[in-house]
């Protein structure tokens, strides 16, 4: 059962998405900012990270940078951003930091679930074959 870490500071949004993900059968852990996200990451060892960008204490971009620099064991763990920042510059920043996908809020739940499924299965085949650079497969999903 794939494990997803969901980092989001808006409790109302978080609750909804956790419900959906659990209904789909994912094992879900949550955090309300990047800093909590990092400690959850080390404890929970997720297969995929779904994260908001703009959060207090530590934002999603900072968290991702930290993961890519300090925690090489998660270098192939895919990250999907789900942010209310919809400008092109934000999307590009997210992707260039090393995220697989950048979705903008509000998001269609079915689209999100399909994307998570795809990303996880692609990840599985890739880790099954080689431990290649996951960024090579990145797709620009969200934009304005």
């Amino acid at each position: 059962m794939p494990k997803i870490l969901y980092v989001e500071d808006e409790a109302d949004l978080r609750e909804d998405l956790v419900e959906i993900l659990e209904e789909e059968g994912y094992d879900v852990a949550t955090a309300s900012n990047g800093k909590e996200g990092l400690s959850e990451l080390l404890r929970f060892l997720p297969d995929l990270i779904l994260s908001d960008c703009m959060m207090p204490v530590m934002n999603g971009i900072e968290m991702l940078t930290e993961i890519r620099q300090r925690h090489p064991q998660f270098s192939s763990t895919p990250i999907v951003f789900l942010s209310a920042h919809a400008q092109k510059a934000h999307v590009e920043e997210g992707i260039s930091t090393g995220a697989q996908h950048y979705l903008t809020k509000p998001v269609d739940h079915d689209t999100l679930l399909a994307l998570l499924r795809d990303t996880l299965s692609a990840q599985e085949t890739q880790t099954g074959r080689t431990n290649d650079n996951p960024a090579a497969e990145c797709r620009l999903t969200g934009s304005e």
Binding site: D12, N33, M54, M58, N59, A84, H85, A86, K105, H109
Partner: protein
């Protein structure tokens, strides 16, 4: 003055005057003049002396010829009868005892045989017999002849009888020429001495005059020019009163000085203008940056509640017939909260436009302020369950006159800020009381704080402190709060220590009756309009 100079425009400092003070133009001119005059004088003196010497010679020749003829007259007898002793006697009495200057004499008889020889200075005899070889001294003549011999002047004369028919012999008298030469030499030396003495006096005087009236003023004007060039603005230029070229030069320098001052002033004004433009541009750029950030944040702030509403709606849709009434209520509650957030955002965004247009007007009415404040705190507490908001209200009158809706906006803003910028520090203190005639409310958090240097900008539109990174916000809340408090004739101030927390203190005057409120409201309106 040299400081603002850049890009090769630094003014050169003028050369130091006086380093070649001796070689001034006027001194060089004077020296050249003196040299020319000296050469001229030497030439003139030389010519004059030469002419004087010739005149001396002529006078001497005339006198000596006469003397020789007189003596020859007296010697006819003794020479005729060949009595050398008598001749010698005549010489001794006439020549030696008189002041005729004769240094030697000889007498010849009619056959040109030597009769007598007279030497005035026997120890240094002068041989003048050689004159016989001279063509000028032809003894056959009846007339006299002159010649110079061994630097001596010799006059030869025939010794004749009174009737002039018989020539008894010849005499020759010699004068020392060196005395004449000495005399003319002395004259020349004297002339030169006097001339050069006068010349020296004249040159000295000329130099003094040139120095006093030309060199010195020129040097002073040059020095003044240097000082002006080096930036001395208050300098008084000398010699402006003179009515000649020096005066013209001095007056030109004054004009130049005035122009320099004018240019300085214009340059300074231009620099100020440039600085003002640069400042305005910088401010504009800053404002544009803030505005861009504001648009980004407003978009984010709208999208977040929309996402909540959309999320809840999708859930309801998917779970039709499965959700319990409680679950449904929870979802609608989320939707309503999100809608409220959007309304607040719309309100504050619109309020800012109204501040700019100056069209915010208070709707004053009696209000239980203590209850209002507690209500606001409670609402915030329900939203932010991690925080602990404590409210203390002391001595508040039952009812004061305010615009309750605007006051609600003010304290909702301050409280939501306190919660938002203290994500890890749950303690929020709200205290309200009366000081004098004023209501004072403080809202304190123990959160991120604001850097000291950013405090003065905190109430500017769109400004967000650097410590707010990652925290959603539009930068208009505090701007609006300040304006609304000022509409209530109040003020807001902020104390903050970065990393330790922030306290906002709101102060506004108490108005207790609606009647008073109406009058005060009338007073406040122009302020509102002009704001």
């Amino acid at each position: 003055m040299a400081a603002p100079g850049s890009g090769g425009t630094t003014p050169k400092s003028a050369p130091k005057p006086g380093s070649r003070r001796f070689l001034t133009v006027s001194n060089k001119l004077a020296a050249l003049g003196a040299l020319c005059i000296s050469v001229g004088f030497v030439f003139v003196i030389w010519i004059q002396t030469d002419r004087a010497r010739a005149q001396l010679y002529e006078v001497a020749l005339h006198r000596n010829t006469h003397t020789t003829e007189l003596i020859a007259d007296q010697l006819y007898g003794p020479v005729r009868w060949r009595k050398p002793a008598i001749v010698q006697q005549v010489y001794d009495s006439v020549i030696a005892n008189s002041d005729l200057g004769v240094v030697a004499a000889i007498t010849l008889d009619r056959h040109d045989a030597l009769l007598t020889v007279y030497q005035k200075n026997a120890s240094n005899p002068i041989d003048i017999s050689g004159f016989l070889d001279d063509e000028n001294a032809d003894p056959a003549n009846t007339g006299h002849a002159t010649t110079t011999l061994h630097n001596h002047f010799v006059v030869i004369a025939p010794v004749m009888s009174r009737d002039g028919l018989d020539r008894a012999g010849t005499i020759a008298l010699a004068w020392d020429l060196s005395s004449l030469d000495r005399m003319s030499h002395d004259m020349m030396v004297q002339a030169i001495t006097v001339t050069f003495g006068l010349l020296a006096a004249f040159i000295t005087l000329s130099l003094l005059i040139v120095h006093r009236y030309l060199s010195q003023p020129l040097a002073q004007i040059a020095a003044a020019t240097n000082r002006i060039a080096n930036g001395d603005k208050g300098l008084e230029v000398p010699w402006t009163g003179r009515k000649d070229e020096i005066g013209d030069m001095a007056r030109s320098l004054v004009t130049f000085q005035e122009n320099v001052a004018l240019i300085d002033r214009l340059t300074a004004e231009q620099q100020q203008q440039t600085q003002r433009l640069a400042n305005a541009l910088e401010k504009e750029r800053e404002y544009n940056g803030l505005h861009r950030e504001f648009v980004t944040m407003v978009s984010h702030e709208f999208r977040t509640p929309v996402a909540i509403i959309d999320g809840a709606a999708q859930r309801i849709d998917r779970r039709i017939g499965k959700d319990t009434p409680d679950q449904l209520m929870e979802r609608t509650g989320k939707i309503r909260n999100a809608v409220n957030r959007m309304i607040e955002l719309i309100d504050s965004t619109l309020s800012v436009s109204r501040i700019e247009a100056g069209t915010i007007e208070l709707e004053l009415g009696e209000c239980d302020f203590a209850a209002l404040l507690k209500d606001i705190c409670q609402r915030q507490q329900e939203i932010s369950k991690h925080h602990k908001i404590s409210v203390t209200v002391a001595d508040m009158p039952q009812s004061i006159v305010i615009d309750a809706k605007r006051m609600d906006q003010v304290f909702t803003n301050l409280l939501s800020n306190a919660v938002k910028y203290a994500p890890d520090d749950p303690k929020i203190d709200v205290k309200a009381g009366i000081i004098g005639e004023n209501v004072v409310v403080s809202v304190r958090d123990s959160g991120l704080g604001i850097p000291k240097e950013e405090l003065p900008k905190l109430f500017e539109k769109f400004f967000r402190a650097s410590t707010s990174t990652g925290i959603p916000g539009t930068g208009i809340g505090l701007h609006l709060v300040k304006h609304l408090i000022e509409l209530h004739q109040g003020s807001i101030k902020v104390d903050s220590i970065e990393g330790q927390g922030t306290t906002f203190s709101v102060t506004f005057p108490i108005r207790q009756s609606a009647h008073e409120a109406t009058t005060t409201d009338a007073d406040s309106r122009p302020a509102a309009l002009s704001a």
